[in-house]
């Protein structure tokens, strides 16, 4: 692989990841000044609370269903109406938050760890190690994430509809972007004077990598990981909507959308509610990611 960044790599990191040293205090100062950051934090706090303590938001049992009130529109008793089984849509949307956020966060953590490990090792050692790892990255990158996850879920998981299956499927195909950005960032950090100094003073490769390279090369990856939480929440909803993700046993926004899509034209409220929750949560995460990108990389500031 050449040292020249190819266009396809620039696409993976539109903000040109550099060895921007993340000085926490100045980042916090810049973040604090942005109103959108506070909108994002409020939305995220709201949804994290909802996932942790759903009873704060609703006292209605999401499993308390009554067919006699199937598909009732929004009213005083049921703020967002009921679904086909006669369950309260608002209560179900609130309780679905946990699975959706859990999947989004778990997949992000998993892809972050894989991506940072593969990317930093490839970027730091270069040569044959980089060549092999880069080819592996390219093979995974060539498979569209949703298609790969779909194949895996349809076959290996055999549609058992568990949370773990969804997390594994999305993680397996979702780490490549992180790895490429980490690799590019590590390659820029590797040549800096203090790394050369650490090597000259006899530090071992693992030690240099862990203590000097990764902490200084990681900030663009952290920014991307933030945005990825929203992306993976959307992917969970999408595969569940297609009928390949979570099944009836686990309540998630995507699963609620899947259940109500066939009656969407006659009772849109049962679908609009979980879809609205989903969009607000993703919007919160995207806004946070954008604010962080601006704060960490002052070059892209508006």
């Amino acid at each position: 692989m050449s040292d020249v960044h190819l266009a396809s790599e620039a696409a993976a990191a539109p903000t040109a990841p550099g060895p921007t040293v993340l000085a926490p205090s100045s980042v916090w100062h810049r973040l604090r000044a942005r109103p959108l950051f506070w909108v994002a934090i409020s939305l995220i706090t709201l949804f994290v609370l909802m996932a942790a303590v759903p009873s704060l938001f609703t006292s209605v049992d999401p499993e308390d269903c009554n067919l006699s009130r199937s598909l009732v529109g929004p009213n005083g008793d049921h703020w967002l109406g009921t679904d086909v089984q006669g369950c309260d849509v608002y209560a179900r949307s609130v309780h679905a938050t946990r699975a959706s956020l859990l999947i989004g966060l778990s997949v992000t953590v998993a892809t972050f760890l894989i991506g940072v490990l593969v990317g930093s090792v490839a970027g730091y050692f270069g040569g044959i190690v980089d060549a092999v790892l880069s080819r592996i990255i390219e093979i995974f990158l060539a498979i569209p994430l949703l298609l790969g996850a779909t194949v895996l879920l349809a076959t290996a998981a055999n549609g058992d509809g568990g949370v773990l299956g969804v997390i594994v499927a999305l993680s397996l195909y979702g780490w490549t972007q992180t790895a490429r950005i980490m690799r590019a960032s590590t390659m820029e950090t590797r040549g800096l004077d203090y790394i050369v100094a650490a090597r000259a003073s006899g530090a071992s490769d693992p030690r240099i990598l862990l203590e000097h390279v990764i902490p200084n090369a990681i900030s663009p990856v952290i920014v991307v990981a933030t945005t990825n939480v929203g992306l993976f929440i959307t992917y969970e909803a999408t595969i569940s909507y297609l009928g390949l993700g979570l099944q009836d046993s686990t309540l998630s926004w995507g699963q609620m959308i899947h259940d109500s899509v066939s009656r969407f034209l006659t009772s849109p409220h049962a679908l609009l509610a979980p879809a609205g929750f989903l969009s607000l949560a993703v919007l919160g995460v995207l806004l946070l990611g954008d604010a962080m990108r601006d704060a960490v990389d002052p070059r892209s500031r508006r």
């Binding site: 990158l141 194949v151 290996a156």
Partner: protein, 329 residues
């Protein structure tokens, strides 16, 4: 433009094509390995409910005939051999040869994607220019906010909203399919009216990335010396924006279009499913739901090849646009 670097470009394309062979082999091998690890029994899928009443001996024979009793590496090798001669196997879900599925449906997907992407480029450029014209102004803030909102909305939801609004409430456009249910013939007019909604939704789903990128690129270009120079010479703001800044600002964006193929495939998959568009992407979902291995394997290869082609195109265009980049990838 007579001095195009044909030789290095051809060398790069050649190297990439050589690399594409092992990638595609690895991807098909992966699909077969996953299939082998799956608890799913292809004999059950083939025989359907009859498998429950059939004797163990019949099932064994069936398994043998289907080749399901051999190790997956052997099955993979056989599949490769017949794929090389153009025989991609038989789709169990759609009950027709895989090659027929592809030839019947690929054209509709290409039509949808090309229409949608043209729309994205036109709309995205217009929005990006509007936003970049006055940074922080009302148009800029509106565009940026709209882009983030759209990015947060899953594609399938946009599609459902569009059906609800335009097909149900306003009743101006058909909700799905390729033609009206009444008509048998596929006419251009019918297809055009059925294409509007899916193409528009696919275009809008790709819009946030494109518009924000145009905006960023233009904002950067507006800071360049030659733009300041043009302004200092007293040229009108519009001329500076469209003739000077846009020309150089749009180039890096257009070259990156090829890297968006995975997102375009994902988008097409959802849009085709929502609108019952008879394309290849919707067939992927059907194949996955029915665990149709022959079709899934072929479609995965097809998608992977499209992605690799897009990446190659991007790097070629990028090298052309920026002579400092060497064709050595």
């Amino acid at each position: 433009m007579s001095a195009l670097p044909w030789a290095p470009m051809a060398r790069m394309a050649g190297r990439r094509l050589l690399f594409a062979v092992p990638v595609l082999l690895a991807v098909t091998f992966g699909v077969f390995a996953v299939a082998a690890a799956s608890p799913f029994d292809p004999v059950d899928a083939y025989a359907g409910t009859a498998a429950r009443t059939a004797s163990e001996q019949t099932l064994e024979e069936l398994r043998h005939n289907l080749g399901a009793d051999r190790p997956f590496t052997e099955q993979w090798w056989d599949w490769l051999g017949s794929a090389a001669t153009g025989d991609l196997g038989h789709s169990t879900a759609l009950r027709q040869p895989v090659s027929e599925v592809i030839s019947e449906r690929l054209g509709w997907t290409v039509l949808l994607c090309v229409t949608a992407f043209t729309l994205t480029v036109l709309l995205g450029t217009a929005l990006g220019v509007l936003a970049a014209r006055r940074r922080g102004g009302p148009a800029d803030r509106f565009t940026t906010a709209a882009c983030y909102t759209l990015e947060a909305a899953p594609t399938f939801w946009l599609g459902l909203l569009a059906i609800w609004l335009f097909a149900l409430e306003l009743d101006v456009l058909p909700a799905g399919g390729l033609t009206d249910t009444r008509s048998d013939a596929v006419t251009a007019g019918q297809v055009a009216s059925h294409l509007v909604l899916p193409a528009a939704v696919l275009a809008v789903s790709q819009l946030p990335w494109f518009a924000l990128f145009v905006r960023e690129s233009l904002v950067e270009a507006l800071d360049e010396d030659y733009v300041r120079g043009a302004r200092a010479r007293g040229l009108r703001g519009r001329t500076v924006l469209l003739r000077h800044a846009l020309r150089s600002g749009l180039l890096p964006v257009l070259t990156l279009v090829g890297t968006r193929i995975p997102e375009l495939i994902t988008g097409a998959l959802l849009v085709e499913t929502v609108f019952s568009w008879p394309g290849i992407a919707a067939a992927t979902v059907e194949a996955a739901l029915a665990v149709d291995f022959p079709l899934l394997a072929a479609l995965t290869v097809l998608a992977t090849a499209a992605v690799l082609l897009g990446t190659l195109l991007t790097d070629l265009l990028y090298g052309l646009a920026d002579p400092r980049v060497a064709f050595d990838g």
